[in-house]
């Protein structure tokens, strides 16, 4: 039996037109400051020379340079994707600088420029290990380079490799060569090809066989320099029976120009390995008139390569002017499990087209998708998901739940779930709801003494509960606060 279903539903809706709500959303983007630091950067423009220069700065082996060039040549032949429900102003790839780094260059943590430490301090990510978040190792990526990684010694004792990608290419070339591009090939899509050609930094994680990573790993991405793009590349490999939980956070200064963040993240889980990957994305979303903000075009994919492996994506997306992102899982191993938990909040003129792909290849594979979209202001928020049951996916199951919450009357929520089922024993379930914060709910809260603003946060928080539960504790609190700030002025 072959069956496929394409379903599109669109809702644009009304809510309250209360002026107070508009006020609530007026709070500002707290991470919007600029760090004044001397930078080394490549001049804007992109050709093979740029890539060779970039590779040379990073002291890469020649195979890496060749890999990049091949990706670049492929990229030149590719059309820009236009299938997403997004309005994107044309991007001038020649106007972007593909490398920017603090002049002092990456050193040991003890020698990191105080201005940088202060930046991360301000963002709530202390890099001094004394002050660091308890039980969380951090790799801090500033524009194109990693400026420091904490707790490396403790991790090394457990056999865990956690460092910047640039370093991994130099220190562990055989591991990088084996796995890089094995989940997201260089020519996978337009932005993945661009990333493969010009990627700057990101994190590399390797958890050897049987090791349970002793602490949460996290990378904090910061865009600071003007007219640069950030091309993050992250690779996480979990060997047989290992276990890791990884979190990334992102912020950028307020600027009137759009900036590009085109990332590729690859996860590999071997037999019985588990990877939990959480994102709190708070790139600058642009102002209330839709000026500025980050273009966040990201390819994230996990490969459950071994039997009984598990990959779980949890994302809280509140930032970026435009988000284009579909963290996916290839369920190759028998009985492997893929999960996707997402909260995507858009406000003002933000646009998000996000969701997941669950590709079931192995027998008795299972996937679960819980997506919560919240739209406010004039924003547009789309869920786009693919569940594919291939011929060999005997007894595979998927459960998808897709809920949209609308705040205000000029926003939109859209759901595009695609399903392809090629195995008759596979079961696919899909549930979707669209709701709005009702006047009744608001009045009920207010009649009990709760202010309008607190009522909205409470209702939104309740709406997202299923996803917040999946985040590591410290970050669940963070995510909740972030939603509150992002929704300021949304009521009314």
């Amino acid at each position: 039996m072959n069956s496929s279903m394409i379903n599109e539903s669109s809702t644009s809706t009304t809510l309250r037109d209360n002026a107070e709500v508009a006020e609530v959303l007026g709070r500002s983007y707290a991470a919007g400051f600029v760090t004044d630091i001397e930078m080394t950067s490549l001049p804007p423009g992109l050709d093979e020379g740029t890539i060779r220069a970039l590779s040379a700065i990073k002291q890469e082996p020649s195979w890496m340079t060749e890999w990049r060039l091949e990706a670049y040549r492929h990229w030149l032949t590719m059309p820009k994707p236009d299938w997403a429900k997004l309005n994107i102003d044309p991007i001038d790839y020649q106007a972007i600088s593909y490398y920017a780094a603090p002049k002092a260059g990456p050193k040991s943590l003890a020698e990191v420029d105080p201005a940088l430490l202060e930046t991360y301090e301000k963002l709530g990510i202390p890099l001094h290990e004394r002050a660091a978040l308890a039980g969380v190792a951090v790799d801090a990526v500033f524009d194109s380079v990693s400026v420091g990684t904490t707790f490396r010694k403790q991790l090394a004792e457990a056999g865990v490799l956690f460092c910047s990608m640039s370093e991994a290419i130099r220190e562990y070339p055989e591991l990088v060569q084996k796995y890089l591009g094995s989940v997201v090939p260089t020519g996978d899509n337009f932005f993945a090809a661009l990333n493969s050609a010009v990627f700057s930094d990101g994190s590399f994680v390797f958890i050897p066989k049987g090791v349970r990573c002793p602490m949460e790993l996290s990378t904090y991405f910061r865009i600071n320099a003007q007219n640069t793009g950030q091309f993050e590349r992250t690779l996480i490999v979990a060997e047989e029976g290992s276990h890791v939980s990884y979190l990334e956070g992102c912020t950028a200064p307020k600027r009137d120009e759009n900036q590009l963040h085109a990332a590729v993240v690859e996860l590999v889980a071997l037999e019985k390995a588990q990877i939990k990957y959480s994102t709190v994305q708070n790139w600058y979303p642009g102002d209330e008139n839709g000026v500025g903000g980050i273009y966040n075009f990201v390819t994230k994919r996990g490969d459950c390569r071994g039997d009984d492996s598990k990959i779980s994506w949890t994302q809280v997306e509140t930032g970026s002017a435009i988000t284009w992102k579909y963290p996916s899982v290839i369920l190759r191993g028998d009985r492997s499990v893929g999960e996707f938990y997402s909260v995507a909040l858009t406000h003002h003129y933000q646009q998000a087209d996000t969701g997941t792909k669950m590709i079931h290849l192995g027998k008795y594979t299972k996937s679960k998708i819980v997506s919560k979209g919240i739209s406010a202001g004039r924003s547009s928020n789309s869920y786009r998901g693919l569940v594919k049951m291939e011929k060999g996916a005997e007894g595979a199951r998927n459960y998808t739940q897709c809920d949209s919450l609308l705040i205000g009357k000029q926003c939109g929520a859209h759901t595009f779930p695609y399903m392809e089922v090629k195995n008759p024993t596979a079961i696919v379930e899909h549930e979707a709801t669209t709701s709005k914060i009702s006047d009744d709910q608001m009045f009920y809260c207010r009649s009990r003494g709760v202010s309008e603003e607190d009522a909205v946060s409470m209702i939104v928080d309740g709406f997202c509960k299923q996803v917040f539960r999946e985040l590591p504790m410290e970050f669940a609190v963070e995510a909740k606060k972030l939603l509150e700030v992002s929704l300021e002025g949304a009521v009314g």
Binding site: S438, D439, D440, Q441, F443, Y444, C445, R446, S447, R448, G449, V450, S451, E452, D454, M458, I459, D461, G462, F463, C464, K465, Q466
Partner: protein, 261 residues
């Protein structure tokens, strides 16, 4: 000074005049029942007093403990001690009942310039109230009204009232849709909360509730005004003659009967 003094209140909903010169005085410690046929304006009165959007007051005044109640936002009315038990309590999915109640409780305290309670202190208070109200603590762990039966929703309203300790409690058809056991339980809750400092305004269709919560005053609301006031015997008279009989004996009474002072 009376706790609540409503004078010549006129209010519109979607352009239609519903309250047409309602006057009523309520003192601390009193229980007033407001009865009347469908469409008389009973629920409108409750909504106007608690400040719901969409209810436009076109004339008259409402004075609560000496202040102009109509000038306050709903949350400020709550902090000042006005509580509305909803006819249709609202579901808030995913929001824990205890969390919601603590947010409300502390927001009210903050509004009055009082110290907020931390979660341990609050939990202690909640447990005491559960005991007094004879309500199972299973209620605490669920989301606000989500998946509650009709009876559970009404009980939850009474429980919220017990925790929030309002001065003026308005019960909007709290008895509707309840079976006799649930009705008794709700009535018992109300009786437990009766006190010399607290007043109740019970909006109801039926005299049935009044068998369990005996009011000090009964008012008949018809066509946007109070047309007759009396003691409990009025409710019994209504039961016998119906609203039609009462309304017929009060053709457009210009005096707009006031309540007992």
């Amino acid at each position: 000074m009376s706790m609540l003094k409503i004078e010549n209140l006129h209010a519109r909903v979607e352009g239609k005049e519903i309250l047409k010169g309602l006057s009523l005085t309520v003192n601390a410690g009193e229980v007033h029942a407001i009865m009347g046929p469908n469409g008389a304006g009973k629920s409108t009165l409750g909504n106007v007093l608690s400040g719901r959007d969409g209810y436009e007051v076109t004339a008259g005044t409402v004075t609560y403990n000496g202040i102009d109640l109509l000038a306050l936002a709903p949350e400020a009315r709550a902090a000042a001690g006005v509580f509305l038990a909803f006819q249709y309590p609202v579901e808030i999915p995913g929001v824990n009942n205890t969390y919601f109640l603590r947010a409300a409780f502390n927001a009210q305290r903050k509004g009055r310039g009082e110290k907020e309670l931390d979660s341990m202190q609050f939990l202690k208070l909640v447990r005491e109230k559960l005991k007094i109200m004879q309500i199972s603590d299973e209620l605490l762990h669920r989301a606000v009204n989500e998946g509650f039966s009709g009876g559970e929703k009404k009980r939850n309203e009474i429980f919220q009232m017990a925790v929030l300790e309002p001065q003026l409690a308005i019960l909007d058809e709290t008895d509707s849709g309840l079976d006799i056991d649930a009705l008794k339980q709700v009535a018992q809750g109300v009786n437990t909360l009766r006190s010399p400092d607290r007043a109740f305004l019970m909006i109801t269709h039926y005299q049935r509730l009044l068998d369990y919560v005996v009011p000090d005053f009964v008012h008949v609301l018809a066509d946007g005004r109070i047309v007759e006031s009396g003691d409990k015997s009025l409710a019994l008279k209504l039961e016998e003659h119906g609203y039609a009989g009462i309304a017929a004996s009060h053709p457009a009474d210009p005096r707009q009967a006031g309540a007992a002072a």
